[in-house]
């Protein structure tokens, strides 16, 4: 029974991806891409990775969809048709590549153990109960640190392209209809609550900085889309500080550890340290993602008449 479910998910993933490539209208391709993200998060659930499923549903389907739709609205009329031809010259090498990669699956040893056991043995030292959070914040702290750096660089890059230092971008006008503000009133507290809950959960169950940050980011994007003024009220200095807080807290952690050992990032294994870094990382992931969505160039009138 499970096998049938897996087969359905796999086939629909492949089918949807082919439809995305073959779609005539850009709009159609983007809507299908959102579907693709949701199907992929189903696949993550089947592969027992609820953390990735949450992140994929919020980022891959939600935020990426908003970004793509927003750009499409600014770039072209959504119904513009693209020329779609099948080029055998390209298709055959791609099929060949797929065949080669599929062939390589056969060479994975049957009794391959992975790093799960090593992580489980080292887990008590971190005082965390959930292995993925431990890997993200402790064992592979460098990855998370640099990832926060990548986010920060992306925000800076967007600002450079726009040639501005106004992170907040342009606020949308408040919509006339009441439902927008009603749904913000209803959903915003819940989203903040769920973001915090996921963050708190990360110490011992699926959840953590990434998932919490992503949910908070989608709350911010919702505020922006509904034209709610509260997003613009935060002082710009605070915005900048919080944007850097994740990267900075890792930097402080790395630097302060030099006082008693020779290595970077070998912090005293107390839960407080790790949780402090995690909370800062959550805030800065959320704000970086919001800034990336907001930071897209203003949709003023000279841009789109072209």
């Amino acid at each position: 029974m499970d096998l049938v479910f897996d087969l359905i998910i796999g086939l629909s993933l492949a089918g949807v991806s082919w439809r995305i490539v073959r779609a005539r209208e850009h709009f159609q391709a983007i809507v299908l891409f959102i579907t693709f993200g949701l199907l992929l998060s189903l696949a993550w659930t089947r592969l027992k990775s609820p953390d990735i499923a949450i992140a994929e549903a919020a980022v891959g389907a939600g935020l990426a969809g908003v970004l793509l739709m927003d750009t499409l609205g600014a770039l072209s009329s959504p119904r513009e048709r693209a020329k779609v031809v099948i080029s055998l010259k390209l298709l055959i090498p791609c099929l060949f590549l797929a065949g080669l990669m599929a062939y390589s699956i056969l060479y994975i040893p049957e009794d391959f153990q992975g790093l799960g056991i090593v992580v489980r043995e080292a887990l008590p030292q971190t005082h965390l109960e959930y292995p993925i959070t431990a890997v993200l914040l402790d064992f592979r702290g460098y990855d998370t640190w640099l990832e926060l750096g990548v986010l920060l660089v992306a925000v800076l890059g967007v600002l450079c392209i726009r040639r501005t230092d106004n992170i907040k971008g342009t606020m949308l006008p408040a919509p006339a209809e009441p439902v927008g503000s009603w749904i913000v009133k209803l959903l915003l507290p819940l989203m903040v609550l769920i973001g915090g809950y996921l963050l708190w959960l990360g110490a011992f169950a699926p959840g953590g900085a990434f998932q919490g940050g992503v949910v908070l980011a989608s709350a911010g994007v919702m505020l922006w889309q509904s034209g709610h003024p509260s997003l613009g009220l935060m002082p710009r200095l605070w915005w900048k500080i919080l944007l850097c807080s994740g990267f900075l807290s890792f930097l402080i952690l790395a630097f302060s550890s030099l006082f008693y050992t020779d290595q970077l990032l070998t912090h005293p294994a107390t839960k407080t340290w790790i949780l402090g870094v995690e909370y800062a990382a959550t805030l800065s992931i959320a704000l970086c993602l919001i800034s990336l969505v907001l930071g897209s160039p203003a949709r003023n009138h000279e841009n789109k008449g072209v």
């Binding site: 995305i20 799960g116 993200l136 967007v158 992931i285």
Partner: protein, 105 residues
């Protein structure tokens, strides 16, 4: 074991379909969407291998890598979309030039 094979095969298919889409579309938005499909394929491959391990729980290290990867992908996507807007602003269209496309692909 069969679950792993199903998802790993799906992942390779997704990667090649994404690559094909990336190569064939001159339009930048479609290229970015195809890149995201490729990323999805790569992540699915990693996790299906993590699932494959003999131990009952899924290997946490690839899971953490994929979580990081998802966030990096979205920031790269946002940056690329911003660049696409700038290109549209400068050149009036959002395409890679045809001549260049032919030599690259």
């Amino acid at each position: 074991m069969t679950t792993v094979i199903i998802y790993a095969l799906t992942a390779t298919t997704l990667f090649s379909v994404g690559l094909y889409g990336f190569a064939i579309h001159p339009d930048l938005i479609r290229k970015i969407v195809s890149l995201n499909i490729m990323a999805g394929g790569a992540f699915l491959f990693l996790i299906s291998l993590a699932y494959h391990t003999g131990s009952p729980e899924v290997d946490p290290v690839p899971q953490a890598m994929v979580l990081t990867g998802i966030v990096v992908t979205i920031s790269a996507t946002a940056f690329a979309l911003c660049l696409a807007r700038r290109i549209k602003e400068k050149t009036g269209q959002c395409l890679l030039e045809h001549r260049r496309k032919d030599t690259e692909t």
